[in-house]
Amino acid sequence: MRKKQCNKILVRDSYTEEAKRCLSKLNISEKIELLSGKMSLEEVRDAIQNRRKTHYNEFPYRGGGCEKAGIPPVLFVDGTRGVVCGSGKATCFPVSVLRGATFDPILERKIGEAIAEEVKAAGGNLFAGICVNLPYHPGWGRSQESYGEDTFLLGEMGAALTEGIQEKGIIACVKHFAFNSMENARFDVSISASKRAEREVFLPQFKRCIDAGAGAVMSSYNQYQGSMCGQNDYLLRKVLKEEWKFDGFVMTDFNWGIKDTVLAIHAGQDLEMPNTNFYGDNLRKAFENGEVEEKVIEEAALRIVRTVLSTQSKLQDSIQKNIQKKDSCNYKEHQKLALECAREGITMVKNENQILPLKGKRAQGNIVILGRLADQEVTGDKGSSQVYPPYVTTILKGIQKAATGAEIIYYNGDSLSHSKRLAKEADTVIVVVGNDFHDEGEYVKSDDGMEAVMHMGGDRQEGVGLKERDRNLIMEITSVRKDAIVVLLGGGMIMMQEWISEVAAVLLSYYPGMEGGTAIGEILFGKVNPSGKLPFVVPKRETDLPKIDWKAKEQVYEYYRGYTLLQKKGVEPLFPFGYGLSYTTFTMYDMKVWQEQESIYASIQVNNNGKREGDEIVQMYVGVPNSTVERPERILKAFQRVHLKKGESKRVVLSCRIEDMGFYDEEKGTVRIEYTTYAVYLGNSSDLNDLQKYSFLLSAIM
């Protein structure tokens, strides 16, 4: 891993000279032209607000570029769950939060490669779909676009996607830098956080992606410590470019990402996207007035050109190879990958009396499916990450495909009495409830009183439980039977305490992508063994979550959030972070911990002693009980997905670099490592009951 990171800097740096040569042919105006998008404001805004025939980002959005100097433009492709460009072609993968639940960076890397192929096919060269914002509160409307609530998990998955994308010569753009975890207030809110929260919780996953070689970063709309992130000197110049030695370029979030030409360019904002507003003529004027020096413009241009050139050569290589292999973009293969991902990510959190997988009369009799979402194409929000796939397999279709010999009855659940009547007579009742694009997602700002039309998405300000309609449906059914199976849809954590004891099984399917219904059918009927793990904690009470004011102008992101906050409060969760059930049973034993060079290693024997093959996620948590500063009791530091056949046993070895176990010393401004006792835990969830503990004295390396 380390070696690869060195390589990437060299690769991009080796284009510095060529980039300089290109730039030397240009005058200052032409250089300024390189620093902004070439779309019109109306074009993009109207597409966002659905007022055009073409959807948002139907074709790649162009930024910079200069034909006469041989500088290709940035060709921006949006996404997170796939490629936004085009219609009826792109693969709609499960949303990132489901991908987080796979705990499978190898698969995520493959998804990255597939997405990159589709970016190429759409004519783009940059994919702005690596979203690693940590949801401070799970009600964040765009939680679906990120990998869950844990910094380490976010970093690993984001880095894997980055590597997969760049492997194929596409520029990976990491977003939204930074602290962008409130949707409705994103244009107005100023976030503040302690230095430790900043460096230990909210930024490390970005650094992880930069270290993995990401060529671009998109700044966020919100402010940090009172200064817009798009023109935030501390974040962009000091942290990103100086401390982290980021050698790619920074771009604005769209249309409203910066407000001040001079501040932005000095702060290290390289590319205004997707149109020219504060840069272009305004930047030239600022240059002519002497407010901006040429070298500042030169640096921004160099960063963009260098990145585009390095990508260009890689793209050419890859196109050459593809011609030789006669291999164009294989959408069918990508659809299989989307299915594989859904199979790995869907998380079973309850399965009383092994009601699942369905068998015998339950599988072959009357299966009643209740809830309108079962019959809808629920792939996530309808904001900037909306993908337009050729088809979507709904849950209803997926169950039909998986069931044999059954009569399947679907009802939308609107009439409670009818739902109850159907439930009473059924052999199996499956309730499909949760959220869709109305309830959460990107909040599209309307600037001309179209509020009624645009009312969708945003944060879940009313709470993070099920809607009243869904709760009533569950309660009505559970009044006649206690063996209902609940399939939840939603891009973020959903509270379950109120009804969990009344139902027999619960599957979290997040937004499972275009093949999600297939995977759900396969899991319900036992063709696939579920293996996803919760990428967030599910508390019993909403009051166990951090306090947040969704309409705030100022919001503090505290150090503790998610499962670390529950640990600190000593509160039992309903389901712990990292938790998920399987149709087989795994045992872990013979734990060993040792230190080697700059890392701590931990290993454990994992045995599948159930009746069928399956995957388990071995998780390593580390705590520092005697730390000189207050620390979380234990946090995720490594994980590994392992596949075991029936009766098979494997030894899993995990490791964590010592420097990643330090804390951020606010006074000295550096990470400090403590040579003291570390509590190392291995197991299959973050709950103590699921973990084995080993205390280990860390010694300094001579």
Partner: protein, 318 residues
Amino acid sequence: MSYSIYENVNNNTLSMVNVFVVPIESSTFHWHEEYEMIGVLKGSILVRVQSEVIHLHEGDVILVNSNIIHAIQGRESEENLCMFLQINPKLMDLQEEDKTELRFYLDSTSDEKPTCGYSYFFRKMALIIFNTMSDDKHAVFRVRADACGLIADLFDYVVYDVRFRDATVQNNRELTISIISYFETHLAEEKIMELVCHEFGISRKTLDRNVKMTIGISGKEIVDSLRLEKAKQMLKTTNKNMNYILDCCGFGSEKSFYRIFRQETGLTPKEFREKGLIMHKNDVLKGYLHVRTTEAKEILRKILCDENSENKEKECNT
């Protein structure tokens, strides 16, 4: 006289809708692909849908779903007049190969009230039927359009669910149909259940499970109902003696003939015959009698003109 309980609704293929007004005497268990809406214009009727018995009065409306076994009976004590609207499932965009079935829950005697009220549908039916009675030679298009509007209303206001059957379930249904056809031609056989099992190579248990699953009643119930219907027909239309009839219908003993007959009609076979219920209706299929259109027209006109009735209020506009 055919005893086939499968009713092949003779559609106008262009309109995909069949409408008529008739007084109901009785129809045995039957089913058809068409969705059937029944509105009672006068008197009252009994509708058996699968194993449920529903008593409908003037102003009531019920929808019998596609391929659902049902029977309709008039009440001997009073005259009735009913309007029928039969809709081909193809008009609902359902293709046979989809094996998808929509089931609507519209029954004005149940609690599952449509959001626009029952009378909305009653009036709508009346209007469609009234229009067909005009001399307009293009009425067929109007009927089709109105039926489509009605379908939209069903989707919007009435509780409905969707059923999917895979090949196995589909085969079960076909088996049931074959079994019933066999029953119809072998009613005289006392050991009909054994024969049918032998014929299809299935056990009695399998037969009952299959029949119950597909149409909701047991094999025995089907046979009893078919026998009863045949006996009634013979009592009405022939002078054959009781022994001959009970043999023909396979009742086995006089005792069970009387028991079943009484149970179902409240009369002994003799009383039934004597009560003068014998009418020649060979020209009418299964008891749907054509009534003089003028009477029907008059009733329909009244329903449609009834401005101050609650119908008007309940009518819903989208």
